[in-house]
């Protein structure tokens, strides 16, 4: 984040059903200089906040309070808002892992995480948002 000097710091949406972990993440992100635009603990709430707040990056746990998984919410967010998602999870099955690896706007940090891992993943997501997304739009526009 030191290499980009935005007027407003990048905004992050945290989707995490464990409140302690969510709190920890909030503090760490703010220490890193990001703005936390909200914390959601269900997929539905995450979609609503992503669409309303338009964060630069979504940090997403895969298991949430309701039946909707983090992956299902991420797909909606990706489709409707083109926001990159960093999955922060303790567990991924092979299918989910494959989907994350396939998509450039999906990234993964395994729990328990270190701050540097979160920071690196958000950095990659922001890079995609400014470069890859534009390219994608250009591609669609033409």
């Amino acid at each position: 984040m030191n290499n980009t000097e935005p007027k407003a710091p990048p905004s992050i949406l945290i989707v995490e059903d464990e409140s302690i972990v969510a709190m920890d993440l909030s503090f760490r992100l703010e220490e890193m200089g990001y703005t936390v635009v909200g914390v959601a603990d269900t997929g539905e709430e995450a979609i609503a906040l992503a669409l309303s707040q338009k964060p630069d990056v979504v940090l997403m746990d895969l298991r949430l309070k309701t039946d909707m998984t983090g992956m299902e919410a991420a797909r909606v967010i990706e489709t409707q808002a083109s926001i990159p998602v960093v999955f922060v999870t303790a567990y991924t099955d092979a299918q989910t892992m494959a989907e994350i690896q396939r998509k450039p706007d999906f990234l993964l940090v395994m729990k328990p995480f270190v701050s540097s891992e979160i920071q690196t993943a958000i950095g990659k997501a922001l890079t995609w948002r400014t470069d890859g997304h534009t390219l994608s739009n250009n591609g669609v526009g033409r």
Partner: protein, 581 residues
């Protein structure tokens, strides 16, 4: 070789043996009997022929007796009746009497008259000088002691064999003095033999005893012939047998040989009968062989073959419901019934076996799917557990992190960091566990590579680079071993990163090696840093890191060796006892 061929072979062999035995009996018993019979008959015929000659001699003697007792003959011998010759000794008298010659001598044996007539032509022929000489040389023919004497004999003359009778010339009433001697005789020539043959219906021949041209078989029979009265026989060929006997002269020496040739009618008849018998037996044997083989084939062999074929067909088709068609009540039918009974049993057993097999298959299938479901559930549960453990470890990490926010003391912050890294090294074990197929073992090499990367990111915030080298064998460890091992590596690498390179310049190296040895494992964590302070004593050191290293090594039943040459090298060895359980 099929049963049919074997049976035919045995029957044929039996008949061949039978025929051979019959042949041997015929050859050594029956045929010799026939030969004995024909031998006896030819001997009898030979003796009859000899007797025929002797009878003829007796007839001549009778004629001589009549003429010698005749008065006219006496008168001629005494010289009183010279006309006697002309009156009585005409050629016709010879042919009537059937004698070849007559000889009359006086009382001294001097020849008074001698005449020879050919009986075929009825003409006179020359009196044999040999005969005349023989009479002169044998006074017994001309000198008699009484008027009733007589002499008959066979004479062997170079001219041929002669039958001869001689009596004294006397009174008609056989009294008075002997006036001379009268000899009459007959040649044993072909003419007379023809007559004899017609009478006896036998082929008769005579030979002089000293004939130099005797046929070879007769010569052979004559050689070594001791008892010349006996009859000998020899076989000319398959059609003819010959009997022969000797006839003696006046001195009792053999004078001639009489042979009787006889056709071998009896032997031929016997031979033919035997041939017919043998042929008929052979034909009957062949027919019986054929009949026996055909009957055996129809009654036994064909049924046995059909039985074998049927059993083979049942075996090939595997259709155990098939049964043999039983006809009749003989042993083979009983065998078939027994076989049918056996097949009933086999079919019942087979059906029971199939039913048991199907049941077993079904049970195995059910149990397998149940086990499969149970295994899936267990695996899902284990993954869930690992996930929740990791999640909880994240909560602990977050709690430690939140705790650290209010702390300013660097030492306290470092302690909280260390705790976070220990939690992380344990969490990594669970991550590897649910990624592995076994769910209770992890590849420790992969673990080490991930752990080293994590620790580097966590602790290295200085300038310069530290090079990490992981050299590990692909070894799977259980959770019981992997967690203490992971914590040990965590402590050792943390120590190196914290203390080995205080200046933060490039060229630092941290090396982790892990390999299996006989009955255990060995792990080395080494750096090329500044080494240990001179006062370092592991036993006395009370820092938590050192305490943990000692405690975890003890937990693994291992031992730890620290070397401080060119940096620090820590070697931990531990047995694989827990792994082998």
């Amino acid at each position: 070789m099929s049963l049919k061929v074997k049976t035919a072979f045995i029957v044929i062999l039996s008949f061949l043996i039978l025929l051979t035995l019959i042949g041997l009996v015929v050859r050594f018993s029956v045929l010799p009997s026939f030969q004995q019979i024909e031998n006896n008959i030819v001997i009898e015929h030979t003796l009859q022929t000899k007797n025929g000659i002797l009878d003829e001699l007796a007839d001549i003697n009778n004629i001589v007796g009549d003429w010698a007792g005749w008065r006219d003959t006496r008168d001629f011998a005494l010289g009183d009746y010279p006309e006697y010759i002309d009156d009585n000794m005409m050629n016709a008298s010879y042919t009537t009497l059937e004698v070849n010659f007559m000889w009359i001598g006086d009382a001294d044996g001097h020849e008074l008259f001698a005449k020879d007539v050919d009986l075929d032509s009825g003409a006179e022929t020359a009196f044999s000088d040999n005969l005349r000489e023989y009479i002169a040389d044998h006074p017994r023919l001309t000198h008699f002691s009484t008027v009733t004497d007589s002499m008959t004999c066979i004479v062997n003359l170079p001219d041929g064999l002669v039958m001869l009778a001689s009596q004294p010339i006397r009174d008609s009433n056989n009294t008075g003095t002997i006036a001379g001697s009268l000899i009459m005789g007959k040649y044993l020539d072909s003419r007379w033999l023809q007559i004899l043959a017609e009478k006896t219906r036998l082929t008769v021949a005579t030979y002089r005893w000293d004939d130099p041209a005797l046929p070879a078989p007769i010569q052979a029979a004559k050689d070594g012939w001791q008892d010349t009265e006996a009859v000998k026989t020899y076989i000319v060929n398959d059609d003819t047998i010959v009997g022969l006997t000797a006839i003696n002269d006046i001195d009792g020496h053999p004078a001639g040989i009489v042979t009787v040739e006889q056709p071998r009618i009896i032997f031929r008849a016997g031979w033919n009968s035997l041939s017919v018998f043998f042929g008929a037996t052979t034909v009957i044997a062949v027919l019986m062989v054929l009949v026996m083989v055909i009957l055996l084939d129809q009654m036994v062999l064909k049924r046995v073959t059909d039985l074998g074929a049927h059993l083979t067909q049942i075996t090939r088709s595997g259709d155990l419901s098939q049964r043999l068609a039983v006809r009749g009540t003989d042993e083979l039918s009983e065998l078939m019934q027994t076989l049918n009974g056996m097949m009933d049993t086999i079919q019942t057993s087979d059906e029971a076996l199939r039913a048991a097999h199907d049941t077993l298959e079904q049970r195995v299938s059910e149990r397998t799917s149940a086990l499969s479901v149970a295994l899936s559930e267990k695996n899902a549960l284990l993954k869930e557990v690992h996930h929740r453990v990791k999640n909880n470890l994240q909560i602990i990490t977050s709690l430690l992190n939140l705790q650290a926010r209010g702390v300013d003391d660097p030492n306290t912050l470092a302690l909280l960091h260390d705790s976070q890294s220990r939690v992380r090294s344990m969490a990594l074990v669970h991550e590897k566990l649910y990624q592995s197929e076994a769910l209770d073992r992890i590849n420790f090499k992969n673990y080490l590579q991930d752990l080293v990367g994590y620790l580097y990111r966590l602790y290295w915030h200085r300038d310069g680079r530290v090079e990490f080298l992981v050299q590990a064998e692909n070894i799977e460890l259980s959770i019981d071993t992997a967690v203490p091992c992971g914590l040990l590596v965590n402590e050792l690498i943390t120590n190196s990163l914290k203390h080995a390179f205080p200046d933060g310049t490039d060229g630092g190296k941290v090396e982790v090696r892990f390999w299996a040895e006989e009955n255990g494992y060995k792990m080395v964590v080494a750096d090329n840093g500044v080494g240990l302070p001179p006062e370092f004593d592991m036993q006395q050191n009370s820092s938590l890191g050192i305490q943990l290293i000692k405690s975890l090594t003890r937990q693994l039943d291992g031992n730890v060796v620290i070397s401080a040459k060119e940096g620090v090298s820590v070697t931990i060895s531990f047995p694989n006892g827990k792994e082998s359980v």
